[in-house]
């Protein structure tokens, strides 16, 4: 009984009297200093972080501004290109195919939706030129049969036929024909009646 209590007391006293080796504080300070310097060397300081973030933000701002400025003239050029169609189309198409649209800015602001216009390739320039060519009249439709007959009559130059085309001449002709017919009928009726009379 006494032995166990005595042994417990010895063990606890041994734990209480444990002594560190001499120079513990100096070693701890040196170790902490080394670890701190290693940690600071591994991590970039916050000033460098702020500088890097600032540079990245400036680059982004410049890039967005450049894209915005590239986009506005090209849309304006598309709007103003329609009136000047005929003469400079070939040259314009050539310019479009050679470089992105960065030409003069119009003082008139056109309310256009924000739209990004990319650089136009040569193939797209040809298509754009074809699109801007003025539209021609529609091709002639084939003649109808009546038109063909009329055309043939005109080209034959028959005076009677030509005269029939005139409504007045046609009416006069019809009146004369009617009169001749009536005259013939009257003459015929007289010839029929005369033989019935006694001639003897």
């Amino acid at each position: 009984m006494i032995n166990s209590e005595e042994t417990i007391g010895k063990v606890l006293a041994g734990l209480r009297d444990a002594q560190a080796s001499p120079g513990l504080e100096r070693r701890i300070l040196a170790t902490v200093e080394v670890r701190t310097s290693q940690r600071q060397a591994a991590k970039p300081s916050w000033t460098w972080g702020v500088a890097i973030v600032s540079v990245v933000a400036a680059c982004l701002f410049l890039a967005i501004t450049a894209i915005y400025r590239h986009g506005q003239p090209s849309t304006q050029a598309q709007h103003h290109a329609a009136p000047a169609e005929s003469a400079g189309d070939a040259q314009e198409a050539l310019l479009l195919s050679q470089k992105p649209l960065t030409s003069t800015r119009s003082p008139i602001r056109v309310a256009t939706p924000m739209r990004r216009v990319k650089t136009i390739s040569a193939e797209e320039a040809v298509l754009l030129r074809d699109m801007r060519v003025p539209s021609h009249p529609a091709p002639e439709a084939p003649l109808t049969n009546e038109e063909k007959l009329l055309l043939r009559a005109v080209h034959l130059g028959d005076p009677q036929v030509m005269a029939m085309l005139n409504p007045e001449v046609q009416a006069r002709e019809e009146a004369e024909s009617e009169a001749e017919f009536q005259k013939f009928v009257d003459q015929s009726s007289k010839d029929i009646q005369e033989p019935n009379q006694p001639t003897e």
Binding site: L15, A18, L24, E25, L29, R35
Partner: protein, 185 residues
């Protein structure tokens, strides 16, 4: 040594940029106590010194929130205690306990008596490890001899009366188990 400590003190003051946090002063004041706290768990000098170093590295890392700490002594003891428990899981405590028990045995006694005493101390250490966690914790903290009941209560997160009860039960349970082993033999 004074010059080295003085140089380190200036260095840390400029790095931390908070003059009230003096790492060198903390090391001088608390390193021995923290060593005993860690040694009570690990029972090895080199391992305990490594734990003390780790404690002050943690202090450097958490220097921004160190102003909110009310009781620096208890806070450091808790860090050392937790780091020591974590380290003990990675080592083989049986071999360390045997060598520590041999170092506690009386050197003047004959070899056979010294061996028997070392075995008894090894069994005490083994039974201490088998105690419930709260009882073991309170028993080891009281063994250090520098912490009062109130400080132990803060370290283990219990009330002072609970700490006293845990300490009483730990001593009683440990003695009973050792007597059972002695009766069995």
């Amino acid at each position: 040594m004074a010059s080295v400590e003085g140089g380190s003190l200036v260095l840390f003051s400029t790095e931390i940029a908070q003059p009230e946090i003096d790492i060198a002063a903390l090391v001088v004041t608390y390193s021995r106590l923290l060593f005993r706290v860690a040694h009570s768990v690990l029972r090895n000098q080199a391992e305990a010194e490594d734990v003390v170093q780790d404690v002050f590295v943690r202090v450097i890392e958490s220097r921004r929130s160190i102003q909110a700490i009310r009781d620096m002594r208890v806070w450091l003891v808790r860090i050392a205690w937790n780091l020591a428990l974590d380290r003990r899981r990675r080592i083989r405590p049986e071999q360390i306990d045997e060598s520590f028990a041999e170092s506690l045995a009386t050197n003047t006694a004959p070899a056979d008596e010294r061996l028997a005493e070392a075995q008894r101390m090894s069994s005490v250490l083994r039974e201490m490890d088998r105690l419930p966690r709260a009882e073991r914790c309170v028993l080891l903290l009281s063994a250090i001899g520098e912490l009062g009941t109130a400080e132990m209560a803060k370290v283990v997160g219990r009330s002072e009366s609970a700490v006293r009860a845990l300490l009483f039960r730990a001593r009683t349970r440990l003695r009973e188990r050792l007597e059972e082993q002695g009766g069995g033999r």
